[in-house]
């Protein structure tokens, strides 16, 4: 049911708004397509509408509508359906998160290696050296973490 609504939206948004728009000026197919969607106000309205609906309304309505007769039972937060017993964190050693974070960082930084491999030949030595420097910095970070004792269970 969203589509027709948006369709209407687009109809509304597509009408020429900016008086300064001169329909005559078109230069080349790309720009043609470009000015087609650049001149419409689709974005303004879609932002305002979806933003307002999704955020403002939900927040405010939930604030206004719900009667607040707080009781201990109601105040218990219910992220996972049942009132949590104790802290959800207790089972895990904090170390676990440190490892998780370290892994996350080094794992994701590796993403730069893939495009590099694609253009490795064209880049040549300079590119190789640069990537080695990049890796060196990462290693440097790892060594730091190790020196700081982040890698030991304690």
């Amino acid at each position: 049911m969203l589509a027709p609504a948006l369709g209407a939206l687009v109809e509304y948004a597509d009408r020429p708004l900016s008086p300064s728009t001169v329909p005559g000026r078109r230069a080349g197919p790309t720009i043609h397509m470009t000015s087609e969607y650049l001149t419409n106000w689709f974005y303004v309205w879609s932002f305002i509408v979806s933003g307002a609906v999704l955020v403002v309304l939900i927040l405010l309505v939930s604030k206004l509508v719900n009667p607040s007769h707080p009781t201990p039972g109601k105040l218990a937060h219910y992220e996972c359906g049942i009132p949590p017993v104790g802290s959800p964190w207790s089972p895990f050693a904090v170390r676990y998160y440190v490892f998780a974070l370290l892994f996350l960082v080094f794992d994701v930084e590796a993403v730069f290696l893939f495009p590099w491999t694609l253009v490795f030949r064209t880049l040549g030595t300079a590119g190789f050296i640069e990537m080695m420097l990049f890796v060196a910095v990462l290693v440097w970070g790892l060594v730091y973490a190790w020196r700081k004792g982040a890698l030991e269970w304690a």
């Binding site: 689709f42 979806s50 933003g51 955020v55 937060h77 992220e79 802290s87 974070l101 994701v108 930084e109």
Partner: protein, 102 residues
């Protein structure tokens, strides 16, 4: 309307859902997840533009790569802060951090 608009619309919706999560969720972990959602919306937009829009297409892809990595760094810092606070305050509820106001 041309396909790029639909992609951008998707990005916008995803972005707003993420924003909603940031604003509405009380648990900081979930807030950080919502932040990632917003950044992924950005990635969709970037890749879509790189796909459909004339101009320097490669830039968009490159940009999205950087967004991904920065997002990782961001979540790392965020979780680190949350952990540190959990140690001090024994809570991850965002609305419990209101000691300073006015």
């Amino acid at each position: 309307m041309n396909p790029l608009d639909w992609w951008l619309l998707l990005a916008v919706l995803l972005f707003c859902i993420g924003a909603f999560g940031v604003l509405a969720r009380r648990n900081t972990i979930l807030v950080i997840m919502s932040l990632e959602l917003m950044l992924n919306a950005v990635n969709i937009a970037l890749v879509a533009v790189a796909q459909f829009r004339a101009g320097s297409a490669g830039a968009g892809v490159l940009f999205s790569l950087f967004v991904i990595t920065v997002a990782a760094a961001e979540v790392t810092v965020g979780l680190g802060i949350v952990i540190a606070n959990y140690r001090a305050k024994r809570t991850v509820q965002a609305d419990r951090f209101d000691e300073m106001k006015g």
